[in-house]
Symmetry: C2
Subunit: 350 residues, 2 copies
């Protein structure tokens, strides 16, 4: 029998950041697909939509009127999953029925007044304004004693449950640290205690030596398809300097973050010539008053598409009951993203 070859044989990869496994089945990428196909109407949205509750000057569901903002705009989500005024309390019956009140704040961030744009169609200075807003929001929310974690994210596209095409992201800030960053804290802390360096600093160095999963770089950030990526075209943006959160970024680093987000999302759009759906978000230190030197700022991109604009990866059945599973290898996906142009297929918006 031939020796083990990770480009051919089924194998499991360990997610060193979250402490979990993913099943990789490279041989399976050739299976025929007769299942659900996604719709891809290429919409031509107007720059201003009078019925959009995120456009400047429009009235929201709750009756509030948006200012005539010219770059970014942030407000409290009218239907937030978390609210600040929750009475404390809970339930605990034998450890089997256990609940705790949870308080928090949900914010909505409009990336641009233009209803028809998305991040890859915005200029770097315009994206930099979004980065600046992330910084100030993280600072303000994180400083509150009742907020111990600040999750900044974007759901892009109807396939990702986004209910309004106006370019926007969200922030859910809350009392407890959610499961995903909690797992990453455990893994990063164990590594830091053993090595005195952050897990992602060492991981990044390894990846920069190997090159096979690196997609793009600039002076301060690197984009790669993680060795343990679950989604077909999942990527991670890692800061070269091991900072714990966005407030520590220098002026140059903020520009560089805007630059790399723009270049990555253009490549995504160019991959299947579609406004590429994803959920993306920053992972940063908990805002629990501790220093967290083990934490290393990064941003995850989880796109659902697999083979084309219409065939997605379903995380169902085995994935829900067993482990996440992928067909194409992370190395293959990195290659596909590397070969994309950084000029948007639709050209520069007017």
């Amino acid at each position: 029998m031939a020796s083990f070859d990770s480009t051919e044989h089924p194998h499991r990869r360990f997610n060193a950041l979250a402490g979990e496994w993913v099943l990789v089945s490279p041989h399976r990428s050739k299976r025929p697909w007769q299942g659900q196909q996604e719709e891809t109407e290429e919409e031509n949205r107007p720059a201003y939509d009078p019925t959009c509750y995120l456009c400047p000057g429009n009235t929201r569901v709750g009756g509030e009127v948006n200012p005539k903002y010219t770059d970014t705009f942030v407000f409290n989500n009218d239907f937030g999953a978390l609210t600040a005024d929750v009475p404390t309390g809970g339930i605990n019956e034998g450890g089997l029925l256990r609940a705790e009140a949870e308080s928090g704040i949900c914010r909505v961030i409009c990336f641009s007044p233009r209803h028809d744009l998305t991040l890859p169609q915005m200029t770097t200075p315009a994206i930099r304004k979004v980065v600046d807003l992330w910084v100030s929001e993280f600072q303000t929310l994180g400083a509150r004693p009742d907020i111990n974690y600040v999750q900044i994210f974007e759901n892009k596209g109807p396939m990702m449950g986004c209910s309004n095409p106006h370019p926007h992201g969200q922030i859910w800030a809350q009392r407890t640290v959610p499961g995903e960053p909690a797992k990453e804290t455990v893994q990063q802390l164990a590594y830091f205690q053993e090595h005195g360096r952050t897990l992602l600093a060492d991981y990044l160095q390894l990846e920069l030596e190997k090159k096979e999963r690196v997609v793009i770089e600039n002076e301060h950030f690197v984009v790669l398809v993680p060795f343990w990526a679950v989604w077909p075209f999942e990527t991670i943006i890692i800061a070269r300097r091991p900072v714990q959160d966005v407030t520590q970024l220098t002026d140059d680093e903020r520009d560089a973050l805007a630059d790399i987000i723009r270049r990555l999302t253009i490549r995504y759009d160019n991959l299947f010539h579609i406004s590429f759906p994803y959920s993306a978000g920053l992972h940063q230190r908990p805002t629990d008053g501790q220093e967290h030197p083990e934490w290393h700022l990064h941003m995850h991109f989880y796109p659902p598409l697999l083979r084309s604009a219409t065939v997605r990866k379903f995380m169902v059945g085995y994935e829900m009951l067993g482990d996440p599973q992928r067909d194409v290898t992370p190395e293959f996906s990195a290659g596909r993203l590397r070969e994309q142009s950084e000029v948007h297929y639709k050209g520069v918006p007017a």
Copy 2:
């Protein structure tokens, strides 16, 4: 301020079985939805489809011909994510790039020769044949020294990535124990060591006292919406007797399992008058040669729909980066399922 009320206030619930949290936002179920709507063409499938690779007598992609089976039929998946003949080996660079060869067997189980049926449209004796096949497959696969876990599951409906509407399920059997059952082992073992009873036996008793999350019962099984359910209409079937796997079920218990699956899936279909999509699967003891007295057989149902046949719950953004989140409470969902009829809305198939 009023005191904490789990039907009104955002809270976290602890999944005692998996050791994880879910965020519950009951107040949020009223938010408007303008996002993606699913399609629901009510298809009228023929009893036999000459182009279906699962129908009796038809030729599969690999050239094999299906027998003219009359109840169930099982074969090795022509595009299995796992294969048995994988050379051992792996990678480990500083714990950061870690992979291991994984071997296993993927099987496909046709539930019925009839292309036009689904489990809720089959008779109890016909579903009992499916249960019998699960038993014999678990026995044969689990006895192999290279198989330490046997995952039996079904993806139902295109929304759940099912690529062929012919009623069928799958089995992925493999060398290692996947993440989900591994987490459940940890939780169940800790509980069993402390109490000398299985976690699910005690949990079931609590639920039977409270009644608020119980959906249906028969002599040997109970269906309920778990206290910690993530999906809007998620349910779990729990065996009253703490058995570790399906091979331990008596003749009566096998009948009762078929009965309760039929009744539950009819209620699901009746909820929105649609062939209700879900991923479902049995969780059982690892087949690693240990006895696993801590393990308690159960079956999870994870349906994606939220409010109607066309509005689904998206597990995106916050859910991928933070914690799973739900709007309607498990108690509300249990009530909705309890009020459904057990006569299928389409009547009895011809």
